[in-house]
Symmetry: D3
Subunit: 339 residues, 6 copies
Amino acid sequence: MKVVTFGEVMLRLSPEGYYRIMQSDKFLATFGGGEANVAVSLANYGEDVSYVTKLPNNPITDAFIGQMHYFGVNTDDIVIGGDRIGVYYMEKGASQRGSVCIYDRKHSSIADADPAEFNWKEIFADADWFHFTGITPALSDNMVKACKEACIAAKEMGVKISCDLNYRGKLWTRDKAKEVMTELCKYVDVLIANEEDAKDVFGIEAENTDIYGGKLNHEGYKSVAKQLTDKFGFEKVAITLRGSISASENDWAAMLFDGKDYYFSKNYKLRLVDRVGGGDSFGGGLIYALRNYTDPQTVIEYAVAASALKQSIEGDFNRVSKSEVEKLMGGDGSGRVQR
Amino acid sequence: MKVVTFGEVMLRLSPEGYYRIMQSDKFLATFGGGEANVAVSLANYGEDVSYVTKLPNNPITDAFIGQMHYFGVNTDDIVIGGDRIGVYYMEKGASQRGSVCIYDRKHSSIADADPAEFNWKEIFADADWFHFTGITPALSDNMVKACKEACIAAKEMGVKISCDLNYRGKLWTRDKAKEVMTELCKYVDVLIANEEDAKDVFGIEAENTDIYGGKLNHEGYKSVAKQLTDKFGFEKVAITLRGSISASENDWAAMLFDGKDYYFSKNYKLRLVDRVGGGDSFGGGLIYALRNYTDPQTVIEYAVAASALKQSIEGDFNRVSKSEVEKLMGGDGSGRVQR
Amino acid sequence: MKVVTFGEVMLRLSPEGYYRIMQSDKFLATFGGGEANVAVSLANYGEDVSYVTKLPNNPITDAFIGQMHYFGVNTDDIVIGGDRIGVYYMEKGASQRGSVCIYDRKHSSIADADPAEFNWKEIFADADWFHFTGITPALSDNMVKACKEACIAAKEMGVKISCDLNYRGKLWTRDKAKEVMTELCKYVDVLIANEEDAKDVFGIEAENTDIYGGKLNHEGYKSVAKQLTDKFGFEKVAITLRGSISASENDWAAMLFDGKDYYFSKNYKLRLVDRVGGGDSFGGGLIYALRNYTDPQTVIEYAVAASALKQSIEGDFNRVSKSEVEKLMGGDGSGRVQR
Amino acid sequence: MKVVTFGEVMLRLSPEGYYRIMQSDKFLATFGGGEANVAVSLANYGEDVSYVTKLPNNPITDAFIGQMHYFGVNTDDIVIGGDRIGVYYMEKGASQRGSVCIYDRKHSSIADADPAEFNWKEIFADADWFHFTGITPALSDNMVKACKEACIAAKEMGVKISCDLNYRGKLWTRDKAKEVMTELCKYVDVLIANEEDAKDVFGIEAENTDIYGGKLNHEGYKSVAKQLTDKFGFEKVAITLRGSISASENDWAAMLFDGKDYYFSKNYKLRLVDRVGGGDSFGGGLIYALRNYTDPQTVIEYAVAASALKQSIEGDFNRVSKSEVEKLMGGDGSGRVQR
Amino acid sequence: MKVVTFGEVMLRLSPEGYYRIMQSDKFLATFGGGEANVAVSLANYGEDVSYVTKLPNNPITDAFIGQMHYFGVNTDDIVIGGDRIGVYYMEKGASQRGSVCIYDRKHSSIADADPAEFNWKEIFADADWFHFTGITPALSDNMVKACKEACIAAKEMGVKISCDLNYRGKLWTRDKAKEVMTELCKYVDVLIANEEDAKDVFGIEAENTDIYGGKLNHEGYKSVAKQLTDKFGFEKVAITLRGSISASENDWAAMLFDGKDYYFSKNYKLRLVDRVGGGDSFGGGLIYALRNYTDPQTVIEYAVAASALKQSIEGDFNRVSKSEVEKLMGGDGSGRVQR
Amino acid sequence: MKVVTFGEVMLRLSPEGYYRIMQSDKFLATFGGGEANVAVSLANYGEDVSYVTKLPNNPITDAFIGQMHYFGVNTDDIVIGGDRIGVYYMEKGASQRGSVCIYDRKHSSIADADPAEFNWKEIFADADWFHFTGITPALSDNMVKACKEACIAAKEMGVKISCDLNYRGKLWTRDKAKEVMTELCKYVDVLIANEEDAKDVFGIEAENTDIYGGKLNHEGYKSVAKQLTDKFGFEKVAITLRGSISASENDWAAMLFDGKDYYFSKNYKLRLVDRVGGGDSFGGGLIYALRNYTDPQTVIEYAVAASALKQSIEGDFNRVSKSEVEKLMGGDGSGRVQR
């Protein structure tokens, strides 16, 4: 049984190294998008996964589809048509200078797609898991409708649904996000969020505690997960915890709440190579782990180890194998040479 | 007195060398657009020139404006706003494999601009020449209106108008082009076209002769220039003559008709480095030469020599000086080392 | 029904541009090998194709398999194991300086493979065409055996067999090649050769005429094709005709003999970007055309146009689509910009 | 009213990444020089600024002037002539391996320039601030004279003068530096120095305390600033405080003394991308802040934040905007992605 | 009198920056191998040194020999012949992701060489020091024999012998390594090992103490050195102590035992640029220091400073001079700019 | 017996591909200089050769000396000291756009060297051939003196002298060149010149014929060689004949006059990769051939084939072996792949 992910993929254009945008006349050209990133992670771990989107008919799309095949992601349900693939310009930060993202994604094929173009009954034929993020409905009202139709179809067909809140302030307002996500979250089984999403989208903060003050506040995170679960009845809630020391160094950990107990992962001191896609690699790792492990602590450790590795890798995609994740989970984070 | 050019500029993304699109993970990132290319040529030759367009508020635009300043082009009349800068992907051909252009220019800031955003009376305050191409009105009905308003203001203020037909079949139909350009050409003093534009836009072909048969048909080109002038009353008509032997080798020449006599330039055997912008560099050379030389033969030789040099240079812009053009006109096309 | 190709693929390491080997500290790293190249061509044109080889268990192999998936080539029958993937160093020539190939392919997984590792009955289950080249049996006695077993299985199962003679003097002697290929050619339906292979392998030269003297000697080529057919009873013989003017410019054409008539293609004046894989792209084009066209002249024109395009493309693989080949066949070799 | 800066600019040649000089066959080619760096910083923040130097008549100079225009720096007062532009080779260090600078700046156009070539009355026509560094008079006796003439003209015209001591032991001796700078500092209003300059040039050290011992010795720095002010009557003294943990990590802070009070900035933990130009970006930030803010604490925080950002940017120039500096001053040094 | 080193050199292929293997289509191509690395270090410090190996007759070998000459290493005793130079693929790790080495070295010219091809009497004619590592005998039984013959000849001729244990589990088993190295170590005067080699090869661990537990366990290392000396009678034993915090940061130190006293070096906090060859640069520094300094503390400090510098340099070779090592030993590890 | 060459070597900085100077922020960094180029050619063919110059004490010089050792050129007589190594910027032309050279070589270590620093008696101890070009004395009066002293010493010691006229109008006037070269040529045995040098330096033109008119004028070249020999009594005169069709294509041939007969080489149609150093590679080939062949036709064919190959190679140095030259002489200029 396969996993289906649904959302927008963009051409990502990044200056080389730590150059600022247009400091030189070159861009590294890769692809990125939350749900595509999750699909690649899952394929790397050996899952059957199909990525659904809409893309224009041109050589850029051909290259993207080829890359999905490279990673083993099924593209049979990608709709071809529309005007354009979105573009985003990504400048990598360092030290005190943060990374910069400029989005040029309006009027993309997926944002302008007709919900009827996606036949969810067929798409979910062999599926048992559906994943999307809060970015997809933020693209357009058409996509709100498409996501809702997908969720309804999934529920009818017994397909489990995971959603990464992924609030993007440039795509919609908090009010609109709250309205839409409140509706969509009714269908969601597994919710993924970072340390700010719950507040941005639902206004949910830790009770009687300052969750953003100082260091990791375990009680605060537990409170947020509890409130989310109380409100929407999620089966599982996973929250990533990023401590941004600088654009070069981060702390990275996460918590899983299964409605009963709270499981905190170990914390990694990251030397960032490329943090974009870090959250998506967590999502990919989590979905894989939930499907293949039963112990909640193992699940959250797998997801965090996977996403720690991602952040040492250039590009949105997490180019790691299951055995590499397991090796890191098993404790070898010393970075010794593997001869 | 300055020259004003008006149109769209795009971010141009090209694979390195002769790679196909997305064959590797790098794009060379430069800017290009017919009227910007003409402005750069004119600035390189020492003319005062102002480039008018509309661009979004982001670092890509900052870089473009910085580049215009690098070349000495005035950007004071560029309007900042709107959604995006257009993008085009340019794959360089070789041998029998032609170059490929993919445009992603819909919904660009300039295409969606309100004609009222351009105050032509102010823009033409110090100007005595206005240049645009058939691409600008092809962008949108708004731009048809903007071009017409610009032409009317120019005529009122005694500003000479040049236009490069530049038919782009992906932007509009022949019928629409004919209708719009017939209206706009009423205002035009100097018309520039390549060997196919007159036919594509106005259906004008050589009488009683096959202008596309075999080699350079002087009589055919004369006939086309005569018909254009008879119809629109142009002061001057310049037609470029490209002989495409392969994507690596071209013949390159042009003809100028001043309403009375026909002047044919010498022919250059080009080894193409980058032919995009070749026609624009001809336009830039022609406008410069018409403003600075009186002898028609000199005018057409300058324009052709300038554009021959451009095609040996990477990128849309013609990075040559007046003295380099004059040297080539003077006969030294042997490519010896200048120590 | 699918095509199966069988042979060795190597990691190809090439200096950038026209650098000599190790002139700088970089190598472009791609893959190449006659039968893999043919498989990629066929996949690009839309054929079902499976590539069979043996490769070691490491990330280089993972990347190769990912690339085959990128192009849509089936890799299910690739055997994983053995010591190493062969490497070849390819220095691109220019002007009077010829290209240089250094092979480091001994002891590769495929050369050392046990013929029993390839279960031809299963491999050919859905196949109706089998392609190999003279390089495969030249790798080792094991591979002679494997090729023979494949041919026997193919014949039994009604699978058509094509073979590109591809004589490699560094892999075996002419005597050994003659002995082995004489045996294997008994099974071959479609023979492909360049202007020297027939002489190198079988000692077959044009009767009463100097086939290598001066320019294209049509009678000489016809004679060779006739002798080959008389000796082995091939259904079709295709011979490529390369005129090496310099390492930068070649003439390129071919002839097809169907046992009755001789069909000569048009001749292309090539500006070489990368000639390695040119013959393989001819083979790929020929197989595709034989499967999809009935007119022999169309068949040979397709194969030659396809391989002319390849030689304007970097790397062994022919990254062109069916429509691009058809467009060139249709006469547009002028290399104009496709806007 | 504009700022004028005066000094030498050089072509900077750096190996890529962490390569040693000539380890590979490439150099990154940018420009750098203390006063040009300050001019670029000021232009980026929106100040009118004119950069004065002398450069030879060749395409390298054309490129430099184009770059100044790119950043919006006025180049009208650059003198063209002389033999050459200086060159410096810059190898970036890492870990325990320090960066290496090799200067090839003798006989540069500016070093050999006649002081009479600079008409300070005209240059300062619209100016209210003049900035130079101790490098300029160190170039040659001609430049000592030019600096003195500039200072005298500035004082006469009511133009404020800032000077960065910037001692360069390869250009002159401590004795010569002391003699010249003692004379020039009479005219200076705002003095900038790093933690070693005061000692190198004037022999001024903290009284009764070891200013180079251990960590930031606030009392020592205060003593040095006080002594400098007592001796020369500076209006303001700013001292940068660099703690070199390794070539990869530095502490970075500064102190401002306004003749009455001492203002210490916050300290930044830098991950160095390129530390060359760090001091100059401090100077540029300081001049901007002194011209636009009144609160001394704000002034020193702006200057330090600006120069902290610079050290995360490749090249000598500080490619940051006013809003980026203000954002960092405002406390967000966590390097989060700016989506 | 010269030093002779003997072993295998390989072509090292590394992705650029932190890319994974085959993530892009480029490899950086350098050379590396323990004994060649030691030879280059020694030549850089001014020693006469000859590198002995066997390499095939092709342009890759020409380039390697040219590079040895570049560094001043004598290559007169390199034997030319055999099939191939080994290749290794080296992916640089970062953060928690360790570096990956893939070896393709089987059937290399040196592994397959006949011991009789090396005439040790002649090779050691002007030599007073012979260095090899445990990798050389691990290549093949032929190389076990060659090493033994070299050791015997060296002993006869009064040539001192140093050996770096360098256990490689992919080349031989611990049992085989123990057997062979026990025999060869009889001839060795100076033994070099890292913190794990003694256990891997000889099963020697610290008595009554956990040498791998927690931080630097001085007593444990002393115990190991003592046991090694007791068993083999080494004149000197040097052990490197690497603390792997992550693939980006390491602690680096070493200990020297002269049979009587134990000398611990200072510890360096390394920001890794390229750690491959770190141990070899320690060996090179140690041999140089033993030949040129008498104070054991100075010897170990030289070796550790040299190898700390290496790890800030790209490639296997330690491109540092004697004065750079001495400067770091002298305490300046702050990485300040050397202007 | 060795060859000695004497002159200036410079750091050559070239934009990548066909970029104009500073169009991008990268320069390829190699070395070049007439006499160094000749030395490398000779070393490649197997001659003992020593290169004499003066260079400053810095890492750039270290890299150059390392490179000379890479090629096998002896550097023992290079004097270390002085201020700087000269730099030249080389922009590669294409099509009608000629290459551009900008020299920044004034005040180089060699130009400012004291003639007494070169002890010719010692330098020529094992030499039987001395080569210099007209560039060396053009550098400074010191170098005129040094060249004369070298020539006198050579003559006294029976060392044969070859000189390439190599007129550089930017270094000296024709009058000064004539005066100096007339004096130096008294000592010269073998004179090398291109088609313009004899006229530029000595005012020698073909009698009664237009040597620069139209195509190869054999009689004209013979006349020039005869006049030169009559005037100076040269043993041999070799003249290269370049036909510049464009910056991309040249004809290339040469003539040798031995005082009696005239030998014209075959003509090569060159596709230029890098023509700089073409003349020097002719000189290197000629000297080698004069020392190793007796047949004058073979001599001139060797020199022309060698220099034809050079022009297909990036950089000043001719990276070809003797066998590659001989292969081209033997007729294979077809540029076929050498597998």
